[in-house]
Symmetry: D2
Subunit: 328 residues, 4 copies
C-alpha cells in the first residue's frame, strides 16, 4: 500500500525543553528529504484550534539547532480537552490539507494526541520532549540531559560559596513526580543527600545523615531536593526545621527554578532530537501512528501512546546505592 | 626609612566572591617576589582571633586562579567588633610575627580593618572583594563582573522559556543596597523593566510599562528586580499583585540566589584580582596603610578606608536612560 | 539649527565580534525612541554599494542581544576603496533617503568611513567593534571582553590536560598587532610566559624562564603567544625549537583560532554595545559626525576618526610587571 | 570463599579525560565504604614502577568530582611494556601490600593491565576513561560526553563568525581512529558534512556536496573532520585543495585540539564515572579480575579485557543517514 501522507504538521506542547528546536528542525528537514510539505503549528494544540499554521522549508529551520526553547512556542490547551476543541482542530487540519501530525512534548501532550488520533483516525507520532525524563518507553527524553548539566553547573557554583562559609545548602531541582533530575544531578554535583519522590528518607534520617557528614569531617553540605519529594515539608519549611533542630547549622535555600528549562541543548539532546525528528517522519512513511518514537539502548523505537505513561516511576536501585557510597 | 615588613597575613572576610582566590594568589606571589613571608588566615577575622594561620608559598597557591569561592574560607565575626576580640587578634599576630595584614572583602571588612588598624597602629591594606560593587573609590570590585555574567547567562536561559510560553518573569538578583548588578544585568539580558534601590519607579508605573510593552508587540517580558529595591513588596508579593491586576499575565518568579556568588571568575576579575593583590603588597612596601587598593580608570589607586563607604549609592543616570531607550 | 536627520543606515564591517548584534539593536531602538527610521545594510560597505538594505523596527531586533556574530553580516570591501565604489554607495544612500550612517567595526572600517564622510560630507558615526581592542580613544572595544573570557576558558581546559601530563603548552591567541588579548588572557589563565608584539622577550630568555619555572617546582607550563608576537618564529617553529633545545619537555601547540570571534557576548560587552549604540544616535542628533563614540573611564565620549588609530600600540607597563610577579 | 582484598591501588593512564577525577573519587570512597584501604598511584604505570604511591581517604578526594584532568596525573609508560618494568611494578605492589589494582584509561591501558594481570596473577579491574569512545563492551567511555559538548560549543562559536562572513570552515575534532566524536558533534553542531575514518566519502563527493549546499541557499558551511579521517589529505591540505577548486569559497581551518580533553565533566560523565568507580570495587569484592567495568544499556557490566578492543570500529549506519537528512 502506498503511503498517502503529503503534508505534515509539527507542534510543541506542554513545558518547553532544550532541544525542541532541534527536533522541529529534524522533522522539517526529514519532510524535505522525503518530499513532504511541513507546517509549523504555533502554541501547541492552541494553535491547532486557532489554525495558527506556518509553512516551513529546510531553510526556515536553519540556525536553530543550538537554541533553547521552541520557536513554535508552546502552551497548555484546556480547550483541546473538549469535544468542540478537537472538532475545530480537525476541521482546521482538513482545510489546510495536513494529513499527519508530529507532536513534541510530555505525557499530557501524548494523552491529547492519543484521544484526538483515536477519535478522528488521524495519524500522529509523538516525540518525547520534557526535562523530567518521566516518559515510559524511552531511555531519555529531549531536554533531560541539558537540564542535568544546567543543574549541576548551578550547584557547582553554590558549592563554591558553601565551601567558603561552611554552610548547608538545600537546593531544589525540577522533575515533577520523577526523581531522575534530583538523583543524577545530586550524584553529579557531589551532594551529601538527595531527596526524591520515589523514596522517602524521612526527616529524622536526613538529620542523622547530616550529623554523620559533619563527624566525618565535612564542613559544608549540599542537599538536593526534588520538587516532588515526599518529605512532607516544602524546602523553606525544611530549612526552618533543620535550623530549629540543629542550631549550629548555617542553612540556606536555593530554588533553581526555570533556568533548568532553558539554555542551549547539550550535544546529546541535539543528536537525540535529530534522530527522533527523523524517526518520526520515517515512522509516518511506514504507516505507523498513535505512537511515540523513543530511544532504547541507542536505537530508535516506536512505542504505542498507551505504553508511554505509567503509575509508578521506575528508579534504579543501584543508582541509589552509588549515591550512598560516594557521599561517604 | 627602610621598610620593616617581613611577614604578611592575608584573609578573606564577609560574603565570598569569585576572584578572591586569584587575589590571595597574587598577594602570596607578590610576597614571594619581594621576599616577604606570607601567612593565610582562615575564616576572616574569626581565624585571626583563633590564631588559625597557615604558611603560604608561591607553590601553595598554584592552580587556584580559576576557582570560585575562597580557599581560606570566609566568615562574619561579631567577636572582632569587641575589644577583647581585637586584643586577642593583636596578640596572635605579634606572637606569629606577622607585621602587616591584607584583608579582602567589602565595607564591613574594611570597617573592622580601620578600627583595628587605628587602635593598634597595625599596617593593613584592603582589597575590594564583593559581587555588589558597592565600595566607593574603586570603579569595580572583585567578583562583580563574574556575577553580572552569571546573572545574564541565567536570565538568557529564562528568556528561552519565557519566549516559548509568552510569559512575564520576575527575576531577583543580588546587590544588597546597590542596584549595579540589577541595572547592568538587566540591560545585558534585555529586560523590559529593572527595579533598583536607587530609583523607585512605583508599582503603578511598572504596570503601565508592562502594558506598553504588550502593546508594542512584545509577547514575553523579563523584569529584573534588585534584592534591595524600594517598591515595597517582596518579589513574590509583587508577582501576586501583578496577577491580581493583570489577569491575562502568566507571571513567574525566579530568585537567582547564591549561584551569583560562585563560579569561575571572569578574565576581568582574575586580572583585577591579580593587579590589586600585587598592588596591596607594593603599597605595604611603600609604607602605606589604612587604605584600600582599588582600580580607577584602569590604574591601581590607594583610597583611605574612610573614603570607601558612603551613605548614598551613586548610579549613572545615563545608564538609566540607555535602559529606557533599548527596552522600547 | 534643527537637526534634519530622518533615516539612519547601520552596518557592520571587518572582522565580526561578539556584541555587534547588541550594538545594532541599540542603534535601531534609539532610532525608534527618537523617531528616526532605521535601515540595516548587509555585508558592510559591500551592501552599501549593492544597495542591499532592509528596514528595521524596534521589533526587528528582538532576541538578538545575546547572540554572537552579526545578523547584518560583515565583509571587507576592496571596491569601497575605489572612487567608483564610493560614488555608487553615495547614490544608493541618496536614493534610499538615508541621511546618516552608523558603522560598527575596527580601524579599517573607520578609515573607509572617514574617506567617504569627507568626500561626500555625509554624517557618519563609528562604533568600535573588534575583539582586538586596538582602537585609540576608547578604553574598550565591543567584543574584547568576550574574547578574553573565551580564551581564558579554553586555556583553563588546556591546563587540565597540561597538569595531568606535566606538559608545556604553547597557546596562540588572536589580537593582530595588539597584545591586549594575550597579556590579559595570559594573566587571567595563569600563564607562565606571555609573548606579545609590543615586547620582544627573545627566544633565549623564554627558554631561561621556562627553566626557572621548572626549578621553582612547576610541573606544567602554559605559554600564551599573541598572533602578532615578534619572536621571529611561528608557533609551530617555536615548539620545534624548544623541543630541540629542551629534550625533556613534552611540548604541544594549540591555536585557539576563530572560536575567539564567536560566542554569546559577556554582560560587559552587551552593556557597552548598548551604550555606544544609543550614544551614536544621540551624537547624530547633536550634529556630530566624522567621529567614533567610545568609552572613557565609563563615560561615552566622541573621538574624531583621525584620532582612533595610531602607529604604536600602548601597553600598560604595570600590567607587564604584574604578569611577571604572579607567574613566580 | 572469603575475599582477601585489603588494599587497592588506583591509577590513571594514557590520555586524560574529563571525569577521571570523579572515577578516582568513587573508587576511593567505595574502598572506604567497604573498609578497604585505597592508594593512589601517580602518573599511571610510571608511578607503579617508581613506587610513587599516596594513601587516600574519603576526605582526600573531596571537591574533585567537577574538575577536569586527573589529580593522580597520567602518562604513557614504555618501560611497563618490558619484563623488567613489570617485575619492578610487581615488587612495589607487594612491598606496599597492595593486593588489587583499578586502572582508568583506554585500550593501551587495558592491554598493559591484561599482560601484567596474566603474568603475575594480580587482580586488576579496568575503567574506560578516554574521550574517544573507542572501547568495545561499553556504550560510553568516561569523558566522551564532555568532549562532545566542548566540541559542539566551540563549533557554535565558529558558526557565529562563519554566518557573519559567508564562509566555509573546516573544523578538526579528536577521536583517533574512531569517528564517534566527529559524527555526533557534527550532527549536534549542524555541520554540512562530516568526515570520519569509518567512511571515506571521497574528496570529489565532498566538493559536490558543498556545491549542493550552496545551491540550496546555504551561505556558510561547517565541515567537521575527524583527526583519523581517510580522505588522504590533512586538514590544511584539504583547505588548499578546496580553495584551488572552488575559487569563490572563503575557506578557514580550525583545529580544536586539546581543549577537548579538559573542562569540567558533564553530569553524564560524572554519574558514569561514579557508577563505574563503585562498580570496580564491587567487582573486586566479588573476586572478578582481568576485566573492565562498562555501561551497557544503563547497567554496569563486566567485560574481559580481551573483548574490549577490536580491529574495526562500529559505526551506526542509521546515524549516518540522520546526518545526511538533517543537513539537507
Amino acid at each position: 500500500m502506498k503511503n498517502k501522507i503529503k503534508k505534515v504538521g509539527v507542534l510543541t506542547s506542554g513545558g518547553d525543553s532544550p532541544g525542541m528546536n532541534a527536533a522541529i528542525r529534524a522533522v522539517v528537514r526529514a519532510c524535505s528529504y522525503y518530499q513532504l510539505e511541513a507546517y509549523g503549528i504555533y502554541r501547541g494544540y492552541e494553535g491547532l484550534i486557532e489554525a495558527d499554521f506556518i509553512g516551513l522549508t529546510a531553510r526556515s529551520v536553519k540556525n536553530i539547532i543550538h537554541k533553547g526553547g521552541t520557536f513554535l512556542k508552546s502552551a497548555r490547551s484546556p480547550q483541546f480537552r473538549t469535544e468542540e476543541g478537537q472538532e475545530q482542530a480537525y476541521r482546521n487540519l482538513i482545510e489546510q490539507g495536513i494529513d499527519a501530525l508530529v507532536v513534541i512534548g510530555g505525557d499530557g501532550t501524548f494523552a491529547g494526541a492519543k484521544a484526538f488520533g483515536d477519535t478522528y483516525k488521524f495519524p500522529i507520532i509523538g516525540i518525547p520532549g520534557t526535562i523530567d525524563n518521566d516518559i515510559q518507553g524511552t531511555d531519555y527524553t529531549i531536554g533531560y540531559d541539558t537540564a542535568l548539566n544546567t543543574a549541576v553547573e548551578a550547584i557547582d557554583k553554590i558549592r563554591d560559596t558553601a565551601n567558603s562559609h561552611n554552610r548547608l545548602f538545600l537546593v531544589e531541582v525540577m522533575g515533577r513526580n520523577a526523581g531522575d533530575i534530583a538523583l543524577n544531578a545530586g550524584i553529579g554535583a557531589g551532594a551529601e543527600e538527595i531527596l526524591i519522590p520515589e523514596e522517602n528518607l524521612g526527616i529524622e534520617r536526613l538529620l542523622e545523615s547530616l550529623d554523620r557528614s559533619r563527624k566525618s569531617g565535612k564542613t559544608s553540605s549540599i542537599v538536593v531536593v526534588s520538587e516532588g519529594d515526599q518529605i512532607g515539608k516544602n524546602i523553606f519549611e525544611l530549612a526552618d526545621y533543620i535550623k530549629e533542630n540543629k542550631k549550629d547549622y548555617d542553612v540556606r535555600v536555593t530554588v533553581l527554578g526555570h533556568i533548568q528549562r532553558g539554555g542551549s541543548p547539550s550535544c546529546y539532546d541535539r543528536v537525540l532530537a535529530s534522530r527522533l525528528g527523523v524517526g518520526a517522519i520515517q515512522a509516518l512513511l511506514e504507516n505507523k501512528q498513535g505512537c511515540m518514537v523513543g530511544i532504547n539502548h541507542n536505537q530508535v523505537v516506536e512505542v504505542p501512546f498507551s505504553s508511554t505513561t505509567s503509575g509508578s516511576n521506575y528508579i534504579d536501585k543501584s543508582l541509589l546505592k552509588v549515591a550512598d557510597i560516594i557521599s561517604i
